[in-house]
Symmetry: C2
Subunit: 307 residues, 2 copies
DNA sequence: ACGGGTGGTGCAGAAAATTCACCGCATATC
DNA sequence: GATATGCGGTGAATTTTCTGCACCACCCGT
């Protein structure tokens, strides 16, 4: 879009930190960029950059403006997507920030199902922790987020939530595999594999273990990758943990729920930027996700009731 | 702002209905305007105008885009006002759509008081009925609305509300002037002056009169102008009606409240476009209005309690 | 058939943006 | 303390973009 070229230049300067670097990024002379920025500030009525010897930094006014620019662009994208929908083209792009557990099965399945209906829609999916996901929503870098136990920030609007009891992952020949439900005390003395302390699975486990200080449970292996942890369990007869939504059916591994009276279930939250109107494609996909989550929630509740 | 020139041109074409007329309005050649519009549509990716033999009309995509343009401009104005506030300039503009009753005393007083603190802030005030006021909010033509008994539409967000018992307006020598409170039955046989049926005062009176069909009350004079009605009462010994907020102290006229058990009081509502973040100047003025309305409500309630 | 309205186009000249060459300045570096 | 490097800013020439003019094809009501 021709009109937002000045906005683009402002953003480039913010990113690069100096006019000369930004000019190089944008394939333009520093001189020309300098003039554009100065003219823009004159038009806008206020300076938006601090001129430091080392380069340019946004001042508070600039921060406000940058926020406006981002909101504005995002809104235009929404309008364009609605217009596309109007002419029956069904195009668009959906960007998602989510936690690891959605990667093995849930999101691939949902996205492929959605693309069967609307092949014109493209996706970007990135793993982000609770905090990073929320920041991406706030900066309009992602449309929707799907994370466990996010710190509830003001800008995070929860669209749907489901409860996910933690499951233990092990080989079929593991002694605990005979249990239908794993109690916390069963873990005493077992070889355990866990994610680092800030991960939702670990937070919930640690919280529960604080109640039973006499039990000896220390992970022998800590990793940020659930994929790696699952693979490791195949080799040493160890026990790993994961939310059921993150468990891909894999030969050689079985999963057993951990009793929810021992360990509180994790909350998976689907969220967006508060007050934002999502583009058509994203809004549709959110609808599908909400539906899928409700189904899942019904199933898991059913399973829990059986135990 | 340099960047929104294309938006301005689009709006001009929408207003004028044809490129040639719009070109004249914008002091530019039709040829140049035509190119701009075509280039814009090419950049945007979709046609936004229908080319008719008679001229140009927005298509649905264009409607969507126009809405975006308006929202966008309004948001930029808000950002600019916030920035101005940041640098301590205290500038800005407040546009108000309100009913007649606010014109004689309330708004002049409030605006002058506000401008004593912030002389840099300018105002525009227009009388609008309930429906038109809400439409102005929705199209961002007005920041705030102050109307009686608006039809509650989805986009109208009520910020504050006060109750206003209807008052009768008459000369001091009128027989009813001896009463402290006017009962509905007292009006029987009097010479009455009323606004047309859609006005809030009239709606409330008609509603009350339906309960007492045996009373003979028909206005001898109907006018849309409360100012005119008040003036007329000075000449013929008639009775007119108005909300107390709309009554300017005027020599030769007295007002008496109509008993609220006979006629329901009117509701004066202060509102804005739902979900919108108002510019700093408007937001401040709204705060002042809310305060003033609360004070007024306290007074009137006090007065009502006395009766 | 006509006159007045519409949007659209080729081309020459006007206007605006970009480039290139510099300047002054503050900060690192030796 | 001299030097080198990076920064933002400016003047003049050049390139790109845009505008204005004349004109076309079209539709409509008379």
């Amino acid at each position: 879009m021709r009109q937002f070229i000045d906005f683009d230049f402002v953003e480039a300067v913010v990113r690069a930190g100096s006019i000369r670097k930004a000019a190089e990024d944008m394939n333009i002379t520093a001189s020309a960029l300098n003039r554009r920025i100065n003219r823009f500030e004159r038009d806008f009525g206020y300076e938006i950059f601090e001129r430091l010897p080392a380069g340019m930094r946004l001042n508070p006014a600039g921060e406000l403006l940058l926020e406006h620019i981002r909101r504005q662009k995002s809104d235009l994208a929404r309008v364009r997507s609605q217009v596309a929908d109007l002419s029956g083209v069904r195009r668009g792009h959906v960007s998602i920030a989510c936690s690891q557990a959605l990667m093995p099965a849930f999101l691939p399945k949902q996205i492929s199902r959605y693309r069967e209906l609307h092949p014109g829609v493209t996706f970007s999916v990135n793993t982000r922790d609770r905090l990073a996901a929320e920041q991406e929503l706030a900066s309009f870098a992602s449309d929707i987020a799907l994370v466990f136990e996010p710190k509830h920030m003001a800008d995070f609007e929860v669209i749907a939530a489901i409860s996910q009891p933690i499951h233990a992952v092990m080989r079929p020949d593991h002694p605990l595999a005979r249990h239908d439900v794993i109690r916390l005390r069963d873990l005493s003395g077992q070889v355990l594999v866990m994610p680092p302390p800030q991960f939702a699975v670990r937070v919930l486990l640690d919280e529960a273990l604080k109640q039973l200080p006499y039990i000896d449970v220390e992970p022998v292996l800590v990793s940020e990758s659930f994929d790696f942890m699952s693979n490791y369990v195949l080799w040493e007869g160890a026990v790993s943990f994961q939310f059921p939504i993150g468990i891909a059916d894999r030969a050689g591994l079985v999963t057993r729920p951990v009793a929810t009276k021992d360990v509180a279930p994790g909350k998976l939250l689907l969220g967006q930027m508060r007050g934002r109107t999502l583009p058509v494609a994203s809004a549709r996909f959110v609808q599908q996700l909400v539906h899928a989550m409700h189904e899942l929630s019904g199933q898991s509740r059913h399973r829990v009731d059986q135990t």
